[in-house]
Symmetry: C2
Subunit: 362 residues, 2 copies
């Protein structure tokens, strides 16, 4: 088992990464008599809910659960209300612990519920998608969507522990695994050339879910994100680097309709666009852009714009992004592989030509 410690101003908490951790009573910061509510969904519960429940009951906890319907479209205030109703019906007090068992959607909703129930109860994350394990469960951002905007309502709220059982990835659809690898590759590209290099050597093992490499990889990603978050807990500065490829990707997700491309797939193409723009500006070399493209392709990720989208389709969506300040397009670009930076007021014609460079022409 590997451990990454997240150091925050007020306290630290551990992320445990290993096989069979769902069954391991020692990783749960709970004791006999504790009350627990597990939040999961109808897809994940049949796979893992019993295991977690039994482990906790063996510790002596009083365990109940609430299951949400599966999907991003249920990441809403209504789902939040389902959780509150379940907590209140069973008389859960301020001393209850809420556990998120699932992907980023469950983690985000349950985290916000934990932040809000009686103004804050203890929260444990058990992420079961690669994206949740390397990204959404680290950093304390929680949220639900609003019909008028994604992730518009939420809180910064940290868990007391994150438990990553890497065997849970065996049941995850391969396309979801690959989408998670886009975020993994992103960490290497923005902040850690050595890790990028390691990924080039081990990407096939990761795609094949080889346990030892997977665990190292997840721990490295958590460490990178934890370091960024520790420097910038409420997202004023450095944390922006984590958005490499995301403004372009956001345009793809919005244009195609959420759910048609997975987030990681859109981010993969977005990173290629950011790299192309960086190259045009005389930063990252053509050879390094090629390395990025090759690594993404080996993770079965797209590297060019969807057929149904024209270069002109991007900018209107990009200008509506949360990261736009006072009408100025802020983008994360690459100085070199392993070193990202934030631009302000990027020239729109250059952006358009970078998008075109990543568009199939035939």
């Amino acid at each position: 088992m590997l451990t990454v410690n997240v150091e925050l101003k007020e306290r630290r908490y551990p992320i445990y990464i290993g096989e069979n951790l769902l069954k391991d009573p020692s990783v749960y910061p709970l004791k006999s008599g504790d009350k627990v509510m597990i939040v999961s969904n109808e897809t994940i519960a049949p796979l893992y809910l019993d295991t977690v429940t039994k482990t906790l009951e063996n510790i002596g906890c009083k365990v109940s659960n609430v299951l949400l319907p599966d999907g991003e479209k249920y990441k809403t205030l209504q789902s939040l209300d389902l959780i509150f109703t379940a907590l209140l019906k069973e008389n859960h007090g301020r001393d209850t612990t809420l556990i998120a068992l699932g992907g980023g959607v469950i983690g985000d909703v349950a985290g916000y519920a934990a932040a809000s129930y009686q103004r804050g109860i203890k929260f444990i994350q058990i992420p079961t998608t690669l994206l949740a394990q390397v990204d959404s469960s680290v950093g304390g951002k929680t949220a639900v969507n609003h019909p008028l905007g994604k992730n518009m309502i939420g809180a910064f709220y940290q868990p007391i522990t994150v438990i990553v059982d890497t065997l849970t990835l065996n049941s995850l659809p391969k396309r979801e695994v690959n989408a998670g690898l886009a975020e993994v590759i992103k960490y290497g590209a923005i902040l850690d050339l050595a890790f990028f290099h390691w990924l080039e050597q081990h990407i096939d093992n990761l795609v094949a879910l080889q346990q030892a490499d997977l665990q190292y990889c997840i721990s490295r990603c958590c460490q990178i994100k934890a370091d960024v978050v520790a420097r910038d807990e409420t997202e004023k500065g450095d944390r922006a680097l984590l958005n490499l490829g995301h403004t372009f990707g956001h345009a793809i997700e919005t244009h195609l309709g959420y759910g048609n491309w997975l987030h990681g797939e859109a981010v993969a193409v977005g990173m290629m666009m950011a790299a192309a723009l960086s190259e045009q500006l005389g930063n990252i070399s053509k050879a390094d852009v090629g390395r990025l493209e090759k690594l993404l392709a080996r993770a079965n990720l797209p590297t060019i714009s969807p057929d149904t989208m024209q270069p002109e389709d991007y900018l209107p969506h990009m200008m509506r992004d949360k990261k736009v300040l006072a009408g100025k397009l802020r983008l994360v670009l690459l100085k070199t592989l392993g070193q990202a930076y934030v631009t302000t007021d990027m020239d729109k014609s250059l952006v358009l030509s970078a998008i075109s460079a990543c568009t199939q022409t035939d």
Copy 2:
């Protein structure tokens, strides 16, 4: 104008108290170009919304508003959603400031909306009831109700400024003014004998809304609460003293149905019960219990149990209070006037006899 500074771990913020502050641009921490959303209700808006809007527009702010229906029963997730929708429809970003213009209900809902919108935007309180001016706008507790419990969903979230325009109390129903005085008297009783004594000399002026006394009184209450909160921001210890009379009062509010008695009225009787119990235990003197009773009566507040309630009706409600831990009744009692303390595991037959002592028998 009087100023009370609330000192928190991370920052301080001012509470300004005076006449005509709604019109005074210098008390608003806003500048030309700032975007502002005012949250108010259909009762208060016709009285004060124009004044605040014009003052802010003169500063150069871009001002919009959202009006909720009036009443505790609209302190819900649905009202929260109305605020989010208004913010999103007008493209409000993270740099927007939310202003609560109203009583405790508006302050609690708007505060929680500010805490949650894009994970936290700036928040200003303009409390317009005495209760909100001396109590709910100080301390950072925000919340909405759930059908299964009051104030069950919320956040600790501090405003950047609180603006108390004491002239707004002139339009407040007298019964609401008096209910606010119950909380005022509570501060004297739990922590400040000198202030209690001052109240005995000035209560008639307060009931008559004499401005100078009102302002001093509000500033003293804010200072007392701010001191308690600074010592105990997230409510683990000292803050409990603020609940004098509230567990008994809660039983009255629940038994009669919320809204039949005002909160302050129920708290007034609750304080008498706590005082009677304290006297039985050999703490506060009979004479001092009499002083408390007389002061409450001069503020036109009830001091005995509602006719329709029997002593036996109290305990079941009291045992369901949030303050009950592991089935043990925790109560705030009075050592003397000006000095409260918290008991654990209070004997139920003593509690019953104190309740009986405050019940009309004929």
